[in-house]
Amino acid sequence: VTDFERALAALGSGGVDFIVIGGVAGALHGSAFTTVDLDVVYSRTGENIRRLAAALHDHQAYLRNAPEGLPFVWDERTIRNGLNFTLTTDFGDLDLLGEVAGGGNYQTLLPRSHEVIGFGLRFHLVDLDMLIVLKRAAGRPKDLPIIAELQGILERRLKTTGL
């Protein structure tokens, strides 16, 4: 189970540009489904990759479900040579996505996000309508009840605010 406060604090204090998506985003939009890991889309600029490498340097980042003992080193080179990483860390599971189905990358997703304060921190949260698009694009049967609930939230929001 991920310690969301520590995970976001590590990214935020490291100056990493990222957008929270996935189950945490759903919960912050009002979903009653809970989640145990954190999914973020990160910026692939050289400077941000440097910050991301430094931010997780002391958190024992390793590939989730990979055999022990692989020569995996969390550094700028690894991030640059890769794209999407499903990691374990000392604060729990963390999915770092350079690109996401249906949403593209950090730059294309940024206009479909807004800044919020949660877990005592300020960060970008994907908009509800875009979160639904991402979930639909992922095409996972396990997401169907979650998408249905998120659509219900969106419908209630449209009814009450017209936005």
Partner: protein
């Protein structure tokens, strides 16, 4: 294990190319909606984002506390 995998550009842009939208009607989703307890959602919507975050933290702490007890017993979840 998943790392360093290039996303299929067609899938990456699926949302735009297939005209996927958040509101698009889907009969399958309508069936799932019938089973969702929206009273929980409406209670959540009355909370601030910070309060929802705290609620999530509390839920994960609860899971953390009780999961070892469940996994160590004869109780199977699947």
């Amino acid at each position: 294990m998943e790392a360093s995998r290039e996303i299929d550009p067609a899938k990456r842009d699926a949302g735009q190319e297939e005209g996927l939208s958040a509101e698009a009607f889907d009969p399958v989703l309508e069936v799932f909606k019938r089973d969702i307890d929206f009273t929980l959602v409406e209670r959540n919507l009355r909370l601030t984002i910070e309060e929802r975050a705290q609620q999530l933290v509390n839920a994960t702490r609860f899971i953390d506390k009780f999961r070892p007890l469940v996994s160590g017993s004869s109780f199977k979840t699947r």
